[in-house]
Amino acid sequence: MSRVTQRELFEGAVATAANFNATLTSWNNAAGAGDISADNVREEGLDTRIFDVGSVKRTFVSTDRFAAGSLSGTGFTTTSAVYVPVNIGGNARIGPFDVSATYARLVVHASFLVRTAVAGESIFVELAYSTDGVTFASLPITERVFDGTVGNTPYSQASLEQSCTISTRVFGLSATTYVMLRARSAGGGNISINCVSLFGELFRK
């Protein structure tokens, strides 16, 4: 509490030291070290400009990013029928993140270029998670399927190459959670993943 209460003075009343001191002491008690608090700031009274750099608590506590590939290269290619890590100079993997706390939320984005000449639903790409960095399991509802369309005479190949961004959130996992981008070929043909950006922000209340 940091409020000032002034002792009222009345005409004709005896002015005592106690009366004056009540007011002076009230000021001293309200304006001492550490006395200014929420009672002294009106709603919306604090403007953004008064906050010093680094004075506002960050809502995210850790981040990580994987970025690799270029249009001048092929990127990652595979014919694997089972999911394998997208690897361009290293596995497309981020972490570890501590998402064990009740209010911890890991927001993940994966943006990439995908290409194949295999007809039909031939490319499967998904995000996977791990609690040890070794064994990965699918993150629900992050799988994306891509077509390769060929031999469309006289219009030849089209719809071979597409870009995609997968976004999701992860919570309720361990203190060492990893996220990976991985892919597989459904038709046994060669598929390519290139120009990958995989990043995550861990938010905590």
């Binding site: 002015a15 005592t16 030291a17 004056f20 001191n21 002076l24 002491t25 000021w27 001293n28 304006a31 001492g32 070290a33 550490g34 006395d35 200014i36 608090s37 929420a38 700031v41 009106r42 919306e44 009274g45 604090l46 403007d47 953004t48 906050f51 750099v53 680094g54 004075s55 506002v56 960050r58 809502t59 995210f60 981040t63 970025a67 690799a68 590939g69 249009l71 001048s72 984005h109 994966a110 943006s111 290409r115 194949t116 000449a117 006289p154 219009y155 089209a158 071979l160 190459e161 597409q162 870009s163 995609c164 961004t165 976004s167 060669n190 120009c195 990958v196 950006s197 990043f199 922000e201």
Partner: protein, 236 residues
Amino acid sequence: MPLVLTTVTNGTVIDATAVQGYIDQIEYYLNENIDNGDLDTAPWVDSVHVFKPEFFGAPYPRTALTSGMTQYYAKNDSLYTAAGFHYNLGRNGALAIPGLQATLKIPQDDVRVKVLASFAAYEWGGSEVADEGGALAPSYVVADFHLHQDGTQLAHTGRRLYQSGETPGTVEQSLLGGMVARKQICIADYLEFDKGVHDIGVRVRVYEPPAVMAGYVDWKHVFVVQRNFVVDYHLR
């Protein structure tokens, strides 16, 4: 600094000078002498105490918050707002696409910036068949797109555009060949900036068309429509 008013005892003379002295002390404290030592160190600042976010409209729509900033741009599918490009405009140079650019004023070092770009693009006016090449080897590439951070191309954000079909000459072609080979393109990345004014945006590089016939080129113009660009960053 804390305010300390000297108390009195019975018999102390309180004249105009004494009263003015107290008033001066209070004025000085309230007007200019409150410092961080006067603030309660227990957490007491709540969201209700902080001035509400400020929303700004065109031409650079953005939301300024205490802890960060969000900038967002959107253009619809209309040809009237399409961004059009031709090889002769850039001559292998990367051209900034209107509506997919942002200028950031960053007040501190090591600021993480999340960039999301989503748009559609197509070539139109050329004379070839739609062909993206076989297997993993691209062909007939008309243009490429990259994010640029302060003018530097980010190689890992590359996206490609291929040419559209030929001008319709048959019934079949009227149904299919005349359709543009339109690509939906998205790029997301997470960048780091230091204190200062910075630029971030998507640029297009239109490739030089091969002249397969005298005075005739395979592709003409590149149009970029449905442009959405969101830049979000945390401060302080």
